[in-house]
Amino acid sequence: MIAGGLALAPAGAFVLAALALFVIDAFSPGKTSGGVLAGVSAFGAVGALAASGVFLLSGAASGGIELFGGQLVVDGMSLLFTFIFGSVTALVAVASFDYVREMPHRAEYYMLILLAATGMSLMASANSLAVAFVSLELASLPSYALVAYLKGNRGSVEGGLKYFLIGALSSAILVYGISLVYASTGSLLLSDVADAAGEAAATYPGVFGTGVLMIIGGLAFKTASVPFHFWAPDAYEGAPAPVSAFLSSASKAAGFVLAFRILLVGFPIQSVVGAIDWVLVFQILAVLTMTIGNFAAATQERVKRMLAYSSIGHAGYVLIGLAALTGVGGASAGATVLGASMLHLLVYGFMNTGAFLFVALVEHWEIGRTFEDYNGLARQAPLACVAMTVFMFSLAGLPVGGGFVSKYYLFAGAVGAGVWWLALVGAINSALSLYYYSRVVKAMWIEEPIEGRTIAHYPTALYAAVLTAAVVTVFLLPGLVVFDGAAFDAAAALL
């Protein structure tokens, strides 16, 4: 057991790093060296990563530590997700060193990333609807600004604005849902909501059910689940690639952790099923998200947009974790499939971040965005292309990376929970996804290189981030066992 304050060390690392950047940048605004900024950010992210990893694997917070009168809770799930945020943030911070080297407002860029990461780690710990909303906003507001970071780029600004407008709408929906739930249960604290949920569902099914559905809608925005996904392709495509990596990996995971917490702790399905069968909601969302994400990804011409849609498809796979909580197969089946969702997000944090960072590398070289522009890239950048191949195949679920294991857990868990048809839809979509992922691989390795393309220099930090992500992705194929105990325990603790 760890002392109360110490349990917030992972989130604290993000906050301290962000404040440190404020202080450092205040000395000579706009002129701080990129190395210092990236270094401090990466240091803070690695600190969060290390603290959460140690707490998680040592089982120090296994029982769950409640802080501030139960407003925050630090448990296995929050630590696992903080670990994900830490790793993604560290990769993005390192990779951004090269990406934003020449750009203005570098310090603000790193501050916003760290503040968003802070918000995400608080989302992972949020144990009341108020904290959930505030931390979600803390994560969202820097994200809007980050998407629009390339002020002179039309796509970036447009994506940022769309993200902001849809985000504002979704926040409104979320907070309206929260108010309805508060109206019917009389509390914002999740444990109290859970206690009152049964009665509220029986007495005011309409108010309560509408509230829950609107909260789900607000969270689905954050996870980019269909039909609340419209912002995602535009924002991911327009944003600087490291920011896309950050949003599609970490921000999505944050949305999911909040959804897991709110729905499982606040609205236990046994009590609320009379008013709103949210498992069914998630089944609908999961099928829609998987199918639409993958189908739309298959027809894209630009790699980054394809990755944006594929990231929507992956949100669909993760939604299976909630959609399979049918109670069939008992608590252990539920814990398996939910834990599998968490593991998939963990693996996804590396392989998807890596894929977007590879796109960042390509943007850095300014060699174009379409599949054709990638033709024969392997002749000029073989190492990075090997890494990208690993990401693509691991995303598709081939056994070259951890994506295979986590997807296998997910589908097996879904079958174990009696929703074999969800696993079937997932498997079909995975098969489809292989088509568009392998297009990238084919372009890089098989197609003839484009004439006259030269790559002047190979950015060290970006390369380091991409290769680290690739190595970890491969390592997670056998190494996922390190985490699966923690994930399944965390899932079991929620159910």
Binding site: L19, F22, V23, D25, A26, F27, P29, G30
Partner: protein
């Protein structure tokens, strides 16, 4: 006959009827004297110039944001200051003073950074400078 919706409906009807009847009656009673000045948006004697969609200087927003920071700070400090003595007596100095100092420190860091980056420096636009020179 005790359905409460009847009363609600009646209220709605009355609510609609009153303004409509006022407009109708006044149009019957008053003399009609059309005049240019009456068509202006604001009948304040000033002639409006330009349209309503003008851009305010971004610096107003910066100030407004800083104001919000201090506004929230004040809102939080007020109740805290009121119960401060009692709270110290009950919980001791550290747990009561510490969090507020952390809170203020965060705000101070933010303010300091904003100050250094020029958020409170009023920059005159080129057009404004040309006007003052004239």
């Amino acid at each position: 006959m005790s359905n409460p919706w009847i009363a609600v409906g009646a209220l709605a009807l009355v609510g609609l009827a009153i303004p409509l009847s006022m407009i109708a009656i006044s149009s019957l009673l008053r003399p009609s004297v059309p005049e240019q000045g009456k068509r202006a948006v604001y009948e304040s004697g000033e002639v409006p110039t330009g349209d309503t969609r003008i851009r305010f200087n971004i610096q107003y927003y910066m100030v407004a944001l800083l104001f919000v920071v201090f506004d929230v700070e004040t809102v939080l400090i007020f109740p805290w200051a009121l119960i401060y003595s009692d709270a110290v007596a009950e919980f001791g100095l550290g747990p009561v003073l510490g969090p507020m100092l952390v809170f203020l420190a965060i705000l101070v860091i933010g303010l300091g950074w904003a100050w250094r980056t020029g958020a409170v420096r009023w920059v005159k636009s080129e057009r404004a400078e040309i006007k003052t020179q004239l």
